[in-house]
């Protein structure tokens, strides 16, 4: 089963865009639910993105790409 990992809608207020500043795991890596996988920066605020469940990570948005709330940044194969 494939599950999208999206930037949570409640991560920040307003329509401000963010930037993926770091992927903390490699494309194709196995991650566990709750693992910290990426960081998104908005207005000098770093937000941490966790894996919503366990599985094999597929990166969709690369480092330095602009993202909005709800943007799919990766997928998980479980």
């Amino acid at each position: 089963m494939t599950t999208d990992i999206a930037v949570p809608q409640d991560l920040w207020e307003g329509d401000t865009e963010g930037v993926i500043t770091s992927w903390l795991v490699n494309d194709g890596a196995e991650v566990a639910q709750g693992d910290l996988i990426a960081e998104v920066m908005v207005e000098k605020a770093q937000y941490e993105i966790e894996a919503p469940l366990s599985g094999k990570l597929g990166i969709v948005k690369e480092e330095d790409e602009v993202v909005e709330k709800g943007s799919v940044i990766a997928t998980l194969e479980s």
């Binding site: 207020e13 770091s22 770093q46 941490e48």
Partner: protein, 241 residues
Amino acid sequence: MTALSPGLDRALQRLSVEQGLAAEEARLDAICQGESEFELLAWQPMDRALVMPRRHERNEGFPEARHTLRKLGWPILFRATGGTPVPQCAEVINVTLALRCRVGSSAAHLEWGYHRLGNPWCEWLAALGVSDADLGSAPGAYCDGRFNVRIGGRKLVGTAQRWRRVRGCRDMALLVHGAMQVDGDPAELVGIVNAFQEAVGDPQRFLPGSHVALTQALPGLEVESVLPDLLHRLADREEAA
């Protein structure tokens, strides 16, 4: 809100930059682990370093820039909050709040977080006799943002944040940090950031006139004697919440 915790440090701690960054991370961890709902830390570097988010390490010219800065006596360290390079040295006092925010409340937003730190800071400056302190951007300043604490439009305090989920629930842990140049000449610190910019091959340069040190606005001020009032203002607002 909970009563004051042992993590509420109202005394200024003198730490190496590396220790200070670790102490801030420990405060955020305490919130994430549910051990505390409010932490306050004030620290002043005993040494110096140019501190930046780790993403700068990806710049092609970073290894050479790191070597150049080390030769200048400014090793590079990485921090967990956002923004761009900032000098940390004995002329800077850092104040960090870490607290738990409930998702869906007005407190779970980054603007709230910046005002939570910056508004008491401006009130403290007003009490010291500074009439033109506010929050805003300072064009030409290094690590500029919309929520600097400014005096006369010049950057006194740079602010940044980190947000992390509290373990086992949807609440968020917020770390919001302010770095204030208390004395010395801002041109020296701007010069270090510009040296990094040049070494890393980034054409952007920053302007000394966009920064101000606290003792430029308040000559002769004994900062350490008035700092407890700032920390009380930051903590008392939490106790009243």
